[in-house]
C-alpha cells in the first residue's frame, strides 16, 4: 500500500510543513474577510512586498537580520493601515465586483512598484539556516521548512491568544459576528478594520520572509497568494481554524499529487491539484469545513 511507502510520507510531511506557510498567508486573508467582507486578491502581493523589503534590507543594504526583520514588519503594518484607510474605506457598500477589482488593481500597483524600486531580477534572501537536510525516520526534511513552519506555528499561537484573550481581539470577533451590534456596544469598527489590515500585513510580512527565503524574491512570489484561495475555501472563508486546516491540506495534497502525478504529465500538478479540490469543495460544501453556513436557496 502507498502509505507504507517512505516516499509518500516524505511528500506528506514536507507538504504539511509547506502547508503551515500557506496557513500563515491564509490567516491574514481570512482575517480581512471576516472583519471587512473584502476578498483580498492582493494578499500574495503583500507577501511579495514583505519579501522584497526584507530581501532588499538583507542583500542590498546589508542590514543584520535583527534590524531588517523588524523594519520590514513595521513597514508592512503601516502598509496594511494605509491600504485600508486610503483605498478600501471609500468602497464600503460597493458591489462585489468593485471590491474584487480594487484589490486586483492594488495587486498590479504593488507588482509594478516592487519591480520599479528594487528591480525585476530575483533577489536572494540569506537567512542563517543550515542547508543540510535532517533525516528523521527516513524522511528528508530541510531545516528551512522546519524553521518556517515553526515561525508560522508561533505566529498562529500568539494570534490565537490575542484573539481569545485580549480586549482588541474580542472586539474584532464581535465585529466579525455582527457589525451593527458591535457598534452599538461601543466598539470602534473603523479601528477594528484598520487593525485587521495591519495584522494581515504582519502575517504577510512573516510569510514574505519565509517564502522569499525558499523561492527567492521576485514578482513571482505573489503567486503564493493564489494558492490561498483553495485553502480558505476548504476551511471556510470566515474561519481562522479553517484557514489553518485548509492551508495544511493544500500543502499536503499538492506535495503528494506532484510526487505521484508529475512523472506522468510532465510537471505543473502542484499549481493545479489544489484548484481541483477547491472546485469540488465549492460544489459539495461551499462554506467549507468551519465556515458560517448561509442557507439561501434561490
Amino acid at each position: 500500500m502507498f502509505f507504507m511507502d517512505p516516499f509518500f510520507w516524505d511528500l506528506f510531511v514536507n507538504g504539511l510543513l509547506i502547508g503551515c506557510m500557506y496557513a500563515l498567508v491564509a490567516v491574514g486573508f481570512v482575517l480581512i474577510y471576516k472583519a471587512t467582507s473584502v476578498i483580498n486578491f492582493a494578499q500574495g502581493d503583500l507577501v511579495m512586498f514583505g519579501g522584497y523589503i526584507a530581501a532588499a534590507g538583507l542583500s542590498l543594504y546589508h542590514l543584520p537580520l535583527w534590524t531588517a526583520a523588524p523594519i520590514m514588519l513595521a513597514l508592512m503594518v503601516a502598509l496594511g493601515f494605509a491600504v485600508e484607510r486610503g483605498i478600501l474605506r471609500p468602497l464600503i457598500g460597493q458591489p462585489v465586483v468593485s471590491v474584487v477589482m480594487v484589490t486586483i488593481g492594488l495587486a498590479l500597483v504593488f507588482q509594478g512598484l516592487a519591480a520599479m524600486i528594487w528591480g525585476a531580477a530575483t533577489i536572494n534572501m540569506p537567512l542563517p539556516i543550515p542547508l543540510k537536510p535532517l533525516i528523521i525516520w527516513e524522511i528528508f526534511i530541510s531545516p528551512i521548512n522546519l524553521v518556517a513552519a515553526g515561525l508560522c506555528v508561533a505566529f498562529l499561537v500568539v494570534f490565537a491568544y490575542f484573539f481569545r484573550r485580549s480586549r482588541m481581539g474580542i472586539a474584532m470577533r464581535a465585529v466579525a459576528d455582527d457589525q451593527q451590534s458591535a457598534m452599538s456596544v461601543g466598539i470602534n469598527v473603523r479601528v477594528v478594520f484598520a487593525i485587521s489590515w495591519a495584522i494581515a500585513g504582519l502575517a504577510s510580512g512573516i510569510g514574505g520572509l519565509v517564502w522569499g527565503n525558499m523561492l527567492g524574491v521576485d514578482t513571482h512570489l505573489a503567486l503564493v497568494g493564489l494558492k490561498v484561495f483553495p485553502a480558505v475555501i476548504l476551511g471556510g472563508l470566515d474561519s481562522v481554524p479553517g484557514a489553518v486546516l485548509g492551508g495544511l491540506i493544500v500543502g499536503a495534497v499538492e506535495s503528494v499529487a506532484a510526487g505521484y502525478v508529475d512523472p506522468y504529465v510532465g510537471g505543473g500538478t502542484k499549481d493545479f491539484a489544489p484548484f481541483i479540490i477547491m472546485i469540488l469543495a465549492l460544489m459539495i460544501r461551499p462554506y467549507g469545513f468551519f465556515g458560517r453556513e448561509i442557507i439561501e436557496r434561490v
Binding site: L91, V97, M101, I104, G105, L113, F272, I276, L282, V298
Partner: protein
Amino acid sequence: MINRECGVYQTTYQGDMALYPLPLAKISYALLLLVLLALPLAADSHTMAIMNLIGLAAIGAIGLNILTGYTGQVSLGHGAFMMVGSYTAAILSSRYGMPFWVGLPAGGAVAAAVGAFFGIPSLRIKGLYLAISTLAAQFIIEWCINHIPWIGGGAQSSIYVPTPTLFGWPFNTEYRRYFMVLPVLILAYVGAQNLVRSRVGRAFIAIRDRDVAAEIIGVDIFKYKLLAFAVSSFYAGVAGALWTYYLKIANYEHFILSTSISYLAMIIIGGLGSVLGSVFGAVFITLLPIVLVYVVEGIARLFGFTYASIADFLANLRLIIYGGLIILFLAIEPEGLYRMWGNIKRYFRFWPFSY
C-alpha cells in the same frame, strides 16, 4: 453614442423597446458605419493593426459585460474561455482543414459549452465565492490545454494556423484582417444590444438586481445564469478564435489570468451593464500602453535617455498606471466612461439650463 438619450425619457413601452430610440439614431449608425468602412483608405498599416486589436478586445469585453455587467456574475475565467475558443479553431483549421467560417462559430460553441459547465457552481454560490470558482476554471483549463498533448500539440502548446480565407480572399494584410474583425464586431455589438433589451436580457438584469425577487416573479434562475455563462463564453470563444486567425497561432500565453483581469478592467473602466461601455473600455485599455509608450518615450528623449534604457521602467509604470486607474475609476466614477459620456451629453442637452 449620440443615438440615444442621456437618461430614461421614454413614456411608452414601444419607446423602451426600440432599437433606434431617436430619429438621429439611424443616421448616426449609417455615418459611423461609413467612417469605419472608409477608414482603411485613410489609415496606415500601424493604425489598422491598432484598430484590429481594439476590435478583438471589444468582442471579448462585450461578452464579459453580458455576464458580469448585466447578470451580475463576476468571472475571472474569461481568458480561459477565450483560450478554449482559440484552441478549438486552431485544431479544426490546422488538423482537419476546416475553413475559417466553420472554425469561428465552432470555437464559440465549444467555449459556450465549457463556460456553461463552469457556470454550474453559480447555482449554489455567488458573489465572492463565484469569483474564486471562476478563478479555478482559469487554472484548470490552462493546465488541461498545456498538459494534454492532443489539445496543446506538445511543446509550448502552440498550434500554427493557416491564413484564413473567405470566398477565395485571404486575410493576409492588416487592411484585409480589418474586414475580418469588423463584421464580427458589428454582429457581436448588435447581437448584444438586441439580447439585453429582450426577454432574456431583462431576466439577466432581474437576476443581477435581486435574485430572490427575480425568482418570485418567475425567472428560472438556474437556466438564465447558465445561459448568461454560455452566451458570455460564446463571445469569449469567438474572440479567442478570431485572435487565433488574426495571429495565425494559438498560444495559451495570450489568454492567461492577466488577460481575464484586463477584460474585467475594460468593462469596469468602460461601464458595467452597458454594451457601448464595453467598447469604450476596450478602446481605452488597448490604447493605454501605446499612448503611455509615446508619452514616456517623448519625455525620456528630452532628458536624453534611449528607449532600451527605460523599457523596464515603462513595463512597471504601465502596471502601476493600469492598477491605479482601476482603483481611481472605482472610487470616483464606478459607472465608468459610459457614465462620463452620458454626463457630457446631459450637459449639452440641458444647456444652458443645467438644473
